[in-house]
């Protein structure tokens, strides 16, 4: 297992004169492997963004050690290998999507032709290739999010730090983003994403970190975190009498029937199916 | 086009109504334009004038003053100050007397023309302006004798001043303004005498005698009238004792022509 991110006793405290200090991150030990998608969950102010900013080199830790791909987070050698997609709007709103990506490519020291080819690929993939000379500031939130992801992916990074990558996206956009993140993880990148969309996290993340008031409260795979001794038996084609008989059989065998309900798919799965149909999938 | 009309139509309509209703003339439009750009230009113009006062020649300083005052049209004292400063400036590089006089006359005429151009915008300060116009030639002649010599043939500075005093009296017919012109008569008469216009000088003095009846301080007016009558009599060839006239400083300019 290749370690992509490692923290030891990482803590961040914001002190301001006259106000009590805010412990944004309390001593945190983390080892995150490459090739996985890790969700960072927690309520507002729990330290998710601070953790990502520390790993991106934008916030100096008050205490502890951090390495990303074996380097200090602010290291110049990580400029291309680590991508950070902050929450909120993109900068330089007067540029077009292509101009914005061209600037990102230039800052990442990509050759112009290579940068343009990569930009074109991601714009097409993220359905932004028809934005022409439109300025970023006129983009919808979803379009900005997709362009932000394109910018983050432009350098083909080994670590993707994403703050609310699907906030403001429609379900089609979310599905597209999640597919791309899966691909990146499959290609060996660590994807660390902070999100409030629990359903998406549940669907995509291999592992979840739960922060509360800056402290690590839980960590593990979805299965580990949601493990239970109950089992669900999903059947089709039985009437109510037959269902009652089935329940009775379960009781006779020492089981406890917790509830009998008519399960239904969630809307997100519906959108996924619709999206696949729209793309010509099955 | 339609979108433009919809967006800007009301504004254009409002402007058109204002233009028809107010019918602004060129001066008003110019004043409006000046008012709009004044905040942007004034600091530059003021600073440039300040620099010119220290380092530049008088011509450049006067030109800068004109730029500045274009944006302060109602500041009549300022106009007068800059016009006087320019008209009274020296050109040390010119040593020839006649040339000095000619240059001084050009400066005087430019300064007076500039002051005159401000009249329409002077408002209640027009009297100050007219008085400034009246007395600038006199001051300039005292500063530059070559100019006084040049103007002597046409009645001197006083002849240039009198029309402005007359205009001031016409526009602002107060007792004070009227008396100012009345008491200016000896100076004007002296100028005319210097130019050889004896009958013109007598006419000026006779008019002043007539006007002295309106002077508010009649005790003063009586003495003044008596002296004017003595001067007129002498100019007409009568043997008159001029001791009282000679003792009166207001008649000093006349004395050389009475001997």
């Amino acid at each position: 297992m290749t370690l992509a991110v490692s923290t030891r006793q990482l803590a961040v405290t914001f002190a301001s004169r006259g106000n009590p200090a805010v412990h944004a991150l309390q001593p945190l030990d983390l080892d995150l492997a490459a090739g996985r998608i890790v969700g960072v969950l927690g309520p507002n102010g729990s330290g998710k963004t601070t953790l990502l900013r520390v790993l991106a080199g934008l916030q100096a830790p008050t205490h502890g050690d951090v390495t990303v791909l074996g380097h200090a987070p602010g290291s110049a050698s990580l400029r291309r290998q680590v991508a950070f997609q902050p929450a909120g709007a993109l900068p330089l709103g007067v540029l077009s999507a292509r101009e914005f990506l061209a600037w990102v490519g230039a800052e990442l020291r990509l050759a112009n032709a290579d940068s343009d080819a990569r930009a074109e690929h991601w714009l097409r993939r993220l359905e932004l290739d028809r934005t022409g000379r439109r300025q970023l500031r006129t983009f919808s939130t979803g379009m900005q999010k997709r362009l932000a992801l394109a910018a983050a992916l432009l350098g083909d990074p080994a670590v993707l730090l994403l703050d609310e990558p699907t906030a403001g996206l429609d379900p089609f956009g979310s599905a597209l983003v999640m597919d791309i993140l899966r691909e990146r993880a499959a290609a060996g990148a660590l994807v660390l994403m902070a999100s409030h969309h629990l359903l998406e996290v549940e669907e995509i993340c291999d592992e979840v970190i739960v922060l509360y008031e800056g402290a690590l409260r839980a960590r593990g795979t979805i299965d580990e975190l949601l493990a239970s001794d109950a089992h669900a038996l999903v059947v089709r084609g039985l009437d109510d009498a037959a269902l009652a008989g089935l329940a009775e059989t379960a009781r006779q065998r020492g089981g406890e029937v917790l509830r009998i309900e008519r399960p239904r798919d969630h809307l997100f799965a519906l959108f996924r199916r619709l999206a696949q149909r729209r793309d010509g999938g099955t | 086009m339609i979108a433009f009309a919809r967006r800007h139509g009301p504004a254009v309509l409002g402007l058109a109504i204002a233009a028809v209703a107010l019918q602004p003339d060129g001066d008003e439009l110019r004043e409006l334009g000046a008012a709009i750009v004044r905040p942007a230009v004034l600091p530059f113009a003021w600073r440039s004038l300040g620099d010119a006062g220290r380092t530049a020649d008088p011509v450049e300083a006067f030109a800068r003053a004109q730029h500045l005052m274009r944006f302060l049209p109602a500041w009549i004292d300022g106009h007068c100050a800059f016009a006087f400063r320019y008209a009274l400036s020296e050109e040390p590089a010119v040593t020839d007397e006649r040339q000095r006089g000619e240059r001084a006359r050009v400066r005087l005429e430019l300064a007076m023309a500039w002051l005159e151009s401000v009249r329409p915008r002077a408002g209640r300060h027009e009297l100050d302006l007219l008085q400034g116009l009246a007395f600038l030639p006199e001051v300039a002649c005292r500063r530059e004798p070559a100019l006084a010599a040049l103007l002597a043939t046409s009645g001197g500075a006083a002849a240039m001043a009198d029309p402005w005093l007359a205009e001031a009296e016409r526009r602002f017919p107060s007792a004070a303004v009227r008396e100012q012109r009345t008491f200016f008569a000896p100076t004007l008469a002296a100028g005319l005498l210097a130019a050889g216009d004896r009958s013109g000088a007598i006419a000026v003095l006779l008019a002043a005698i007539e006007r002295s009846r309106d002077v508010r301080d009649q005790e003063l007016a009586t003495i003044w009238r008596q002296r004017l009558q003595d001067v007129v009599a002498r100019l007409q060839g009568a043997p008159v004792d001029l001791a009282a006239v000679a003792a009166d400083a207001r008649f000093a300019l006349l004395l050389p022509h009475l001997r």
């Binding site: 934008l58 | 230009v41 530049a56 450049e60």
Partner: protein, 342 residues
């Protein structure tokens, strides 16, 4: 393919500044030209092109103002807490999140806008086609000239030939009945001529022209008079004989205008380490305005010099520009340190 102007911070910022600043600059230049041409000041037979300096300074300052404001609004890391600044801080090189490159872009745009003004508009406003060096040699230690001390010597650089001397000393109270000071000018020991007028008061400016010749030293001799004279720096100016192109002089003016703009941008960036966009823009606008009106740097004098046909490059201009540059560099350094601390 995306044009190069959209790739680098310098060109990108420059392009944005040009987009926003060109129109106001052109409008200001056109308005100033119209005012200057339609109602020129009456100066009689003597031209005074130097008087048109506000009409050249105003559009130039408009360009400076518009470029700096546009650049600061465009580049996110100029102020604290701007939307998307995390992107820029991560991607842009250097400790200031691309601010130095953005300032370069601002200055490039300003140069492109002010160059035509300094070359074209200046000529349209009456600047002569050629400029001459006006050198003010440093005065001697006790620069007083009177009947008791009859001569002052000024050393000249051997870089040019000279053709005139301007004298504008301070006049003291006369020591006897007022007789203006008569001065003679000597060059390298030879009499160049007597000043054509006596000096009686401060502010009087007297010129002496002579056939062009190289000079290493000028000596002012007090011939007679009762007015003592003092020669502070700038009271004696020698005029170079070599014709220099006004176009080059215009380029110098455009370059001179960069120094205060650089200082203002750098100070705004320093303010931006602790303040948000409105404060930074206010600081910048105030610095540009106050700097212009207060005559910070060499810009103001350079505008007048260009219009009068005086060669702008001088020690005073160089020193003032370097001072602005040093202030700007210090501000950037301080901003870098401040950002590192936060």
């Amino acid at each position: 393919m995306t044009p190069p102007a959209a790739r680098g911070i310098v060109l990108m910022t420059s392009r944005r500044c040009l987009q926003l600043a060109t129109l106001p600059t052109l409008a200001a230049a056109a308005a100033c030209w119209l005012v200057a041409v339609w109602s020129p000041p009456a100066t009689g037979p003597t031209a005074a092109p130097g008087a048109a300096s506000p009409w050249l300074a105003l559009p130039t300052c408009t360009a400076v103002f518009a470029c700096t404001i546009a650049g600061v609004l465009f580049w996110p890391t100029f102020a604290r807490g701007r939307e998307g600044s995390d992107w820029v801080v991560r991607l842009a090189r250097g400790g200031l999140g691309g601010v130095p490159q953005a300032i370069l872009g601002i200055l490039l745009a300003q140069l492109l806008l002010t160059l035509p003004l300094a070359c074209g508009l200046a000529r349209a406003l009456g600047a002569p086609a050629v400029a001459h060096l006006h050198h003010a040699p440093p005065p001697p230690a006790a620069p007083l000239l009177a009947a008791a001390r009859r001569s002052l010597e000024f050393a000249l650089p051997a870089t040019d030939e000279w053709c005139a001397v301007h004298v504008q000393p301070l006049a003291g109270l006369p020591t006897a009945d007022l007789v203006g000071a008569a001065l003679a000018i000597h060059g390298d020991g030879e009499l160049l001529g007597n000043l054509p007028a006596r000096i009686v008061q401060t502010g009087q400016r007297v010129e002496l022209s002579f056939p062009r010749r190289p000079l290493r030293e000028v000596r002012v001799e007090y011939v007679d008079g009762s007015v003592p004279l003092a020669f502070p720096p700038g009271a004696l100016v020698v005029v170079g004989a070599t014709d220099r192109s006004t176009l080059w002089n215009g380029l110098l003016l455009a370059l001179v205008a960069l120094a205060p703009a650089f200082a203002a941008c750098a100070l705004a960036a320093l303010a931006g380490t602790a303040a948000g966009t409105p404060t930074v823009v206010t600081v910048l606008a105030s610095l540009v305005f106050v700097g212009t009106i207060g005559g910070v740097g060499a810009f103001d004098g350079a505008v007048t010099a260009l219009l009068r046909g005086e060669w702008i490059a001088s020690a005073a201009v160089r020193n003032a520009s370097l001072t602005c540059g040093a202030i700007g560099a210090s501000a950037l350094l301080a901003a870098s340190l401040a950002r590192r601390r936060t």
